[in-house]
């Protein structure tokens, strides 16, 4: 079914079309939200909000962009709203706060690989540190970097989602990587892991 056809069906409230849309874009939306939120439970909650909004605002979709671009925009906005509303929560710690924690405490979410506990702990610490470093990036750099890294989107696709020029996106991602490297280098010098 064409994109226009899907939207037409959604406008009519067709449940089958909605179910197809969810199964097509579920992974993409959850992955995008996960890239910004770093928690699978939160990402699934926000992804549900995204699909509810897609269903309700289908009538307002003019078809100027691709459905995926529109859904990406909603997913990014919803995730940022979620971060804003839950800023004080435990999950969103700054890099400085994390590097202050004793090393054993930062490894509270072991991977379930069943492998070496030491390597699990190290991976867990790495994961927390890199998430904190990403969270500390300026908003636009964080969005561009996450879309590029987690969704493997091209700079052109990111520029369409963020309504920016191609050169702005290139610059954002370049600066995001430089900032990330700086933060990781500081952490490396402090021997966080």
């Amino acid at each position: 079914m064409s994109e226009a056809g899907i939207i037409e069906k959604l406008k009519e409230g067709n449940e089958k079309a909605f179910s197809d849309l969810v199964s097509t874009y579920q992974k993409m939306v959850v992955n995008t939200c996960y890239g910004l939120l770093h928690s699978i439970e939160d990402a699934e909650d926000v992804a549900q909000d995204v699909f509810i909004e897609v269903f309700r605002s289908a009538s307002g979709f003019r078809g100027d962009s691709k459905i995926s671009t529109w859904i990406y925009r909603i997913a990014v906005n919803r995730s940022l709203n979620f971060i804003r509303d839950h800023k004080g929560r435990r999950g969103f710690k700054s890099l400085d706060e994390i590097t202050q924690l004793p090393k054993t405490l930062t490894g509270d979410n072991y991977s379930e690989s069943g492998g070496d506990p030491h390597s699990d702990l190290e991976n867990s610490q790495r994961s927390i540190l890199i998430h904190a470093a990403i969270d500390e990036l300026p908003k636009n750099q964080r969005i561009a970097f996450t879309l590029n890294k987690y969704e493997d989107l091209s700079y052109k696709e990111i520029s369409e989602i963020m309504n920016l020029s191609l050169s702005s996106v290139e610059s954002l991602i370049h600066r995001a990587k430089k900032n990330l490297q700086k933060k990781l280098y500081n952490c490396y010098k402090k021997k966080c892991i």
């Binding site: 969810v22 579920q26 992974k27 549900q48 509810i52 269903f55 994961s127 540190l129």
Partner: protein, 142 residues
């Protein structure tokens, strides 16, 4: 290239974002510099976390939960129709304003018309000062 320059470009090297000649230069430097190689390894491991995290498992109950949530929201909307959702806060606001107004009115001191009350005060005077007119000593003597 010195170590400082290598550190600045390391992330781009790891992501294959550099021209071939610079890639080769960094590769040669890393082969000979233990400190830079250690940092490169640290960066590589940190960035690989993101690659591992990509595409988390799809929850098979996602659509079921989504439908349940949409139905719950629809029920809530039918239980409290739009007019009720607007009228309820309006009524509460009016009640609150009425309460505040009543409170202000009760709290204001009563205004006394001095000219009228002057005579009343005069009339009341003997009663108010009854004890002066009939002191307690006289009363006890009797």
């Amino acid at each position: 290239m010195n170590c400082k320059a290598i550190h600045k470009k390391l992330i781009f090297f790891l992501e294959n974002d550099l021209p071939l000649n610079e890639m080769e230069e960094i590769r040669l430097h890393l082969a000979g510099c233990q400190e830079c190689a250690a940092f490169a390894d640290y960066m590589k491991k940190s960035l690989s976390v993101l690659d591992q995290e990509r595409n988390p498992d799809v929850n098979p109950f996602f659509y079921t939960r989504l439908k349940a949530r949409m139905e719950n929201q629809a029920i809530k909307e039918t239980v409290t129709p739009l007019w009720a959702r607007i009228l309820q806060p309006a009524v509460f606001t009016l009640l609150l304003l009425a309460g505040v107004y009543a409170g202000i009115k009760i709290g204001q001191p009563a205004k006394i018309n001095i000219q009228e009350s002057y005579y009343a005060e005069q009339e009341m005077f003997p009663y108010l000062y009854e004890m002066a007119a009939e002191p307690i000593e006289t009363f006890l003597m009797e």
